[in-house]
Symmetry: C2
Subunit: 377 residues, 2 copies
């Protein structure tokens, strides 16, 4: 038996086990949105605040706030690595190379900085707020959520013996395998991982993603996590989120501008990305009002992401709207377009299953993973 | 990331991964029988032959015969360690210290030797035979069975990827845990591990035994494996096997001696162990004929081990026989005595469950573990 003295000593002596170890360990859409913000709103200031939507879960009692502070501070000290920047520069995203401009990558390397944060506990809840340039606050969203989630995991696992931990992960792997066996039989399956913000831990997330790649193969279209895509040669998936229409609405100066802000965003987005990555996210202020007021040119977008409505209801509503606007084209049609650009945008129900899988695969004696945390502008 | 260079190099370079790493890695009853043989039949010669009772399993095709030869040769080179001999000398077995005589332990240290073996493959079956002094052939039984079993396991696992192996063991642990959860609820449970000869592998055996100790606690009365008992501070369980009446029968010179040999053995055993460890094993040539011809003094034995009959039928038969011989004592009675000496002899149905658990806990794509191998005189 060869003892690895260095590892034993190292394991005894570490002061902190960093949760976020790369600035790429975020959803890919944050990077696309970051370039958009850098390009169009470089001086705009924004505040991100954590809201725990499941108030009954006293996150401030569960998570050690000083440990969270250390994690956030460690994240703030991170810088993009050369290899990560070169990957962003040279890799193909949605079939296109050069989606990130050289000037943006220069800025990312030398000037990008995460904002400061304010952290405290009030009434058993974490109070966490980020203030500063929008480009410096926006990126906190995923780092903060995955760090809080993983600290909650660590708290739940703290009292388990080595044997109990072993059984816990054995059961998690067994459940994961059973779910993948079921998925394997689904015809025309197209599934993408969007687990980062709700994951049990980075290592388990990585295990699940690698397992899916190895098990369901071509049906696994990729991951929203840029670091896992970079590290494991996967497709990075995602376009943009509600953050953009919310910010545009906040920047509107009157009611007319407010109503139009959701379409002004689309114009700005298609300018910024030369007519690529055109996936609508129409539900920020309600899909029905969005479609009612949308200009004709919006029918040229490739598809929609259904995020908060029954997928069939929202799909039918979108198709009917396309037909009313004479956009029921023969070249693919609405059904085809709903798959999203290059067929890589997973239908909402699959995304939901994956999120559910990430959350449900592992549960501890003290209950499920946190799912009620959210960061909103 | 600290790389353990020494371990990586070592793992790449090993020529053989020995299955049996201690001469104690055998059933405890073999050691009790060995002392009995040493004491009463030091010059008797015996032949042990492997018989695969499930002829449809072509063990000679599955197991690499040269690897088996290397394993057997490595086992033959093993010697008892001082700490193992001191444990045999000083430990309490069935509540009694000094069950092994100093002269026997001296002999074990300096003179004990495993016999030579003959190994070949014929018609797809392993041909394995041990010839020599009974003391040198008897001990091969368990080493040979567990080595063949583990080589069969290795053959089954050879084509699995690292991920598939990980899932395999995760599922095995999950099943093990589910079975232990079920066992935990059984009232007055008394369960002993007798898995050595039929185990998946040494390491899995050790894992199962430690898990049972940690999970079902006091209901887990011990293990038949002397090495696991020594290493993990458990009770070593077992008394004797069919080997003894079979050998005694073979040594008989006429029919009268043959019929009496099964009782002569009991006399010799109780002399050898000063009236301790008196567990009958009456089914070698049939329990009914055994009880019909048994002298009155046999009722003084503490209990019986039911090995091949329905436990209730055999129990009722034994109780009726005790009553006919006026041995229906008030001080405990037959029911009490059936639990065996010191309550550590597990009822047959529990033993069977455990054997089943050891076999069923893990199964591979190519089927269950071998259960049709046996070594008989």
């Amino acid at each position: 038996m060869i003892i690895d003295f260095a590892r034993r000593a190292h394991d005894h002596n570490w002061e902190m086990d960093p949760i976020t170890r790369s600035l790429l360990d975020t959803d890919f859409y944050k990077l696309l949105m970051l370039q958009f913000i850098w390009k169009n709103f470089p001086r705009t200031r924004a505040t991100f605040t954590l809201i725990n939507r499941t108030a009954s879960v006293q996150l401030g009692e569960i998570v050690d706030v000083e440990q969270l502070r250390e994690q956030l501070e460690a994240t703030r000290r991170l810088r993009f690595r050369k290899s990560e920047l070169l990957w962003l520069a040279g890799n193909t995203f949605y079939g296109r190379r050069g989606i990130f401009e050289p000037a943006f990558l220069e800025w990312l390397e030398h000037e990008f900085e995460l904002s400061d944060f304010e952290l405290s506990v009030h009434d058993g809840q974490l109070q966490l707020q980020f203030e500063g340039l929008w480009s410096g606050t926006s990126m906190w969203e995923i780092y903060a959520l995955s760090e809080i989630g993983e600290l909650k995991t660590r708290a739940a696992l703290k009292d388990l013996s080595e044997f109990e931990l072993d059984i816990l992960y054995a059961r998690a792997k067994t459940r994961l395998w059973e779910k993948m066996e079921r998925l394997r039989g689904v015809p025309e399956l197209n599934i993408t991982d969007f687990g980062t913000r709700r994951r049990h831990s980075f290592l388990w997330h990585e295990y699940v993603v690698n397992s899916m790649r190895d098990t369901i193969g071509d049906c696994f279209s990729g991951t929203s996590n840029a670091y896992l895509a970079y590290k494991h040669n996967l497709e990075a998936i995602g376009t943009n989120g509600h953050e953009l229409p919310m910010a545009m609405a906040a920047l509107a100066r009157d009611d007319e501008e407010l109503r139009n802000s959701q379409y002004a965003l689309l114009e700005l987005w298609q300018q910024s990305y030369q007519g690529e990555l055109l996936i609508l996210l129409p539900d920020t202020f309600g899909t029905t009002q969005f479609l009612r007021g949308a200009p004709d040119w919006v029918t040229n977008w490739t598809g929609q992401r259904i995020d908060s409505k029954d997928a069939y209801v929202a799909g039918d509503e979108y198709i009917a709207w396309l037909q009313r606007h004479g956009a029921d084209r023969k070249d693919g049609g609405a059904d085809e377009r709903m798959k999203g650009s290059h067929g890589t945008m997973a239908p909402a129900q699959n995304r939901t299953s994956m999120a559910a899988m990430m959350r449900e695969s592992l549960f501890t004696r003290s209950g499920r993973q946190p799912s009620g945390t959210a960061v909103v502008v």
